[in-house]
């Protein structure tokens, strides 16, 4: 067995000045300016932003491979090179076998046509013959769960339905190499699970799979190995678990750095917040935790004038409206008689029942000094629950990002 895809020192630059809105007038004036600069003896700057720089890696035949990295790392660019949509500026991309690419949602689905016509059209655009489409038509319809809406124009579909249509056609193409980019982001939890199943089936049949997704649980469930890209360069190539670990490690460090330099909550004439930090049970500052950990939240406050009875409240949310939990001195008591100068207010949360995802911290301080709050209710920081040891298997994690955030211990019984 040899390679299915091989990157040899691939560099990709995008055309300068960004895509779109090129015009003869612009290029003409640009040309004159460059010529003028050359005459003046100055050097012209290089062309365009680099998307990939000197990239080399190899994906073996029959392997399920992941590309992970933050936004702008070059993941989609790499996929575009593989599927021959775009070409490298230098270096070579070698591909063995037919590529079936699913890059971005519903690409190629025409809004005016109905599902039946779209399956025909899309199948043929992707290179299926009419006989192929006819043979697999029912299977595709069934997979997409669109039997009831076959004759409705696709523009009347929801984006989720369009995605289902696109994924269904693409995944029935019988490609040798199947490329999936962020396709799962739109489907509901049930369809996501189905897509993961379908991809696993293709892998079991010996196809090569290349998967890019920010849904790391799905990546972990499907892929064996992968590459971690950062700013267009290879950061590491590893087995999937260590790869995801190093990627998450990077995200956490990065996030921590951002928090240190970043978020400046709005203070008032009475009180300012320097920062909000999260610590583990040993007092070490951290960003990532596991389900069931103890978490200590520290608010580093600076009172600009003495405040009597400042009632501090801390809320935890997962980004959706409303708090998942609220810890408040208004309820619990414990407000000091007076707050002066720099103070650290700490709130210890015991064994947090939160499932993996990012959580946001909000805080407010109310005092007898003012009507309302001396420190307005606002977002002050965040932390992430990275894993849930022993609670959630990889297959179930697809649900974690869309369903409930709180883990309650439970037992099933069927009578």
């Amino acid at each position: 067995m040899g390679y299915a895809i091989r990157f040899e020192n691939v560099t990709k630059r995008y055309p300068r000045g960004g895509p779109r809105y090129a015009s003869l007038r612009h290029d003409f004036s640009e040309g004159v300016r460059r010529a003028g600069r050359r005459l003046a003896g100055q050097r012209n700057e290089g062309r365009g932003p680099i998307a990939l720089e000197d990239l080399s890696f190899e994906i073996e035949e029959g392997e399920s491979y992941a590309i992970v990295g933050p936004n702008g790392a070059g993941k989609t660019t790499a996929l575009k090179l593989i599927s021959r949509i775009s070409y490298p500026t230098s270096g070579r991309v070698k591909v063995r076998g037919r590529v079936g690419a699913l890059i971005e949602v519903g690409s190629g689905v025409h809004p005016e046509l109905n599902a039946r016509e779209n399956i025909w059209l899309y199948g043929q655009i992707m290179g299926m013959s009419k006989a192929d489409v006819r043979r697999r038509f029912d299977e595709i319809v069934e997979f997409a769960e669109l039997g009831h809406a076959l004759d409705r124009p696709v523009k009347m579909y929801s984006s989720g339905m369009q995605l289902r249509l696109g994924f269904a056609v693409a995944s029935h193409l019988d490609p040798d190499i199947f490329v999936v980019d962020e396709a799962l982001a739109v489907g509901d939890a049930g369809f996501q699970a189905k897509c993961v199943e379908r991809m696993m089936k293709l892998v079991a049949e010996g196809r090569t799979l290349l998967f890019v997704s920010h849904n790391l649980s799905a990546v972990e469930a499907v892929c064996e190995r992968g590459v971690f890209l950062l700013e267009g360069r290879v950061q590491s190539v590893e087995e999937i678990s260590p790869l995801l670990r190093s990627y998450l490690q990077w995200t956490d460090d990065h996030q921590l750095k951002r928090l240190e330099g970043g978020v400046t909550p709005v203070g008032s004439a009475y009180l300012e917040l320097d920062k909000a930090t999260c610590h583990d049970s040993r007092g070490v500052e951290r960003y990532a935790f596991s389900t069931g950990d103890d978490v200590e939240i520290r608010l580093h406050l600076r009172a600009l004038q003495p405040l009597s009875y400042p009632h501090v409240s801390i809320g935890i949310s997962d980004g959706r409206p409303g708090n998942l939990a609220l810890c408040s001195m208004l309820v619990d008591g414990g407000a000091p008689e007076v707050l002066e100068g720099r103070t650290v207010v700490s709130c210890k949360l015991r064994s947090i029942p939160l499932l993996p995802r990012v959580y946001y911290l909000c805080a407010s301080v109310r005092s007898e000094h003012a009507y309302g709050d001396v420190f307005d209710w606002q977002s002050v920081g965040s932390f992430r629950v990275a894993d849930a040891p022993g609670l959630v298997g990889p297959a179930a994690q697809a649900h974690a990002s869309t369903d409930g955030a709180i883990y309650i211990q439970h037992d099933w019984e069927v009578k």
Binding site: P15, A22, Y87, A101, Q124
Partner: protein, 260 residues
């Protein structure tokens, strides 16, 4: 050569694109098929009452209305093909950015779609021509071959324009104007014989549409065989345009997805 072989492998996809274009066109437009008929008829009427009344313009033996319609039907094909074809990469920009297929396909699909309009126009001529004074003739059987040549010419022009359109939207805005000029620079409202004999071959090489339109006219309105001279010159001109059009397309192709 290799890309031509690949294109052949994707011939079903070209058909699929053409089919889609036709379906979408007739789904969105109330008049549907009517549009394929209205344009040549409207031009025929205008030409008949204006240019057709000028003394020096003759139908060369056929009544002027039939004479004009015989060239307007193929001209409409060329015009529709070129204008849809050269915008095809932009209209299908989302696909070009996300799915691989040989990039010629949307352009050729659009031309083929225009071919359907031409077929309808041809049926119009079959129905209306005899009423206007043209006679049924065995030479009408040559129409498909002439249409093929015209389609190839259209493909050459559309491929070049489609590629340039991706980089410079200016072409998109200039196109309707350029097509108007092309119409009046071609023997549609007037006969080819207006061009002085000694310039005729050069004129037809530079504007290959002229020789083909003249051939259509002889075949349809006059029941004659095409004149060999202008037709050969026209085919030579077509070959030159297709060669350079395809070269331009191929040299710009690699960056389409990045620029579009």
């Amino acid at each position: 050569m290799q890309s031509l072989r690949e294109l052949w492998g994707f011939r079903a996809t070209i058909l699929a694109f053409a089919e889609r274009d036709v379906r979408v066109k007739y789904k969105q437009a109330v008049l549907g098929i009517g549009w394929a008929v209205i344009q040549p008829l409207a031009f025929m009427t205008i030409f008949t009452f204006t240019i057709g009344r000028l003394a020096p313009v003759s139908g060369e033996g056929a009544p002027y209305a039939a004479f004009a319609l015989a060239a307007l039907v193929p001209w409409t094909f060329l015009q529709t093909g070129v204008s849809f074809g050269s915008n095809a990469l932009l209209t299908d920009g989302a696909l070009v950015r996300k799915v691989y297929f040989p990039r010629e396909i949307p352009v050729l699909g659009a031309l083929l779609g225009a071919g359907v309009d031409f077929a309808i126009g041809f049926v119009l001529f079959i129905c209306l021509g005899p009423l206007l004074g043209a006679h049924f003739s065995a030479t009408w059987l040559l129409v498909p071959f002439l249409a093929l040549a015209l389609g190839v010419l259209g493909a050459g022009v559309a491929l070049a324009l489609a590629a340039l359109n991706v980089y410079y939207r200016d072409f998109r805005y200039a196109l309707p104007f350029a097509l108007q000029l092309w119409l009046f620079a071609s023997p549609v409202a007037y006969p080819l014989s207006v061009v002085p004999e000694q310039w005729r071959v050069l004129y037809v090489v530079v504007n290959p549409a002229a020789g083909l339109l003249d051939a259509f006219r002889r075949v349809l309105a006059l029941g004659q065989l095409p004149q060999t001279g202008p037709l050969a010159a026209s085919l030579a001109g077509t070959a030159i345009i297709v060669y350079f059009g395809y070269r331009i397309f191929k040299s710009l192709e690699p960056n389409f997805a990045d620029v579009i």
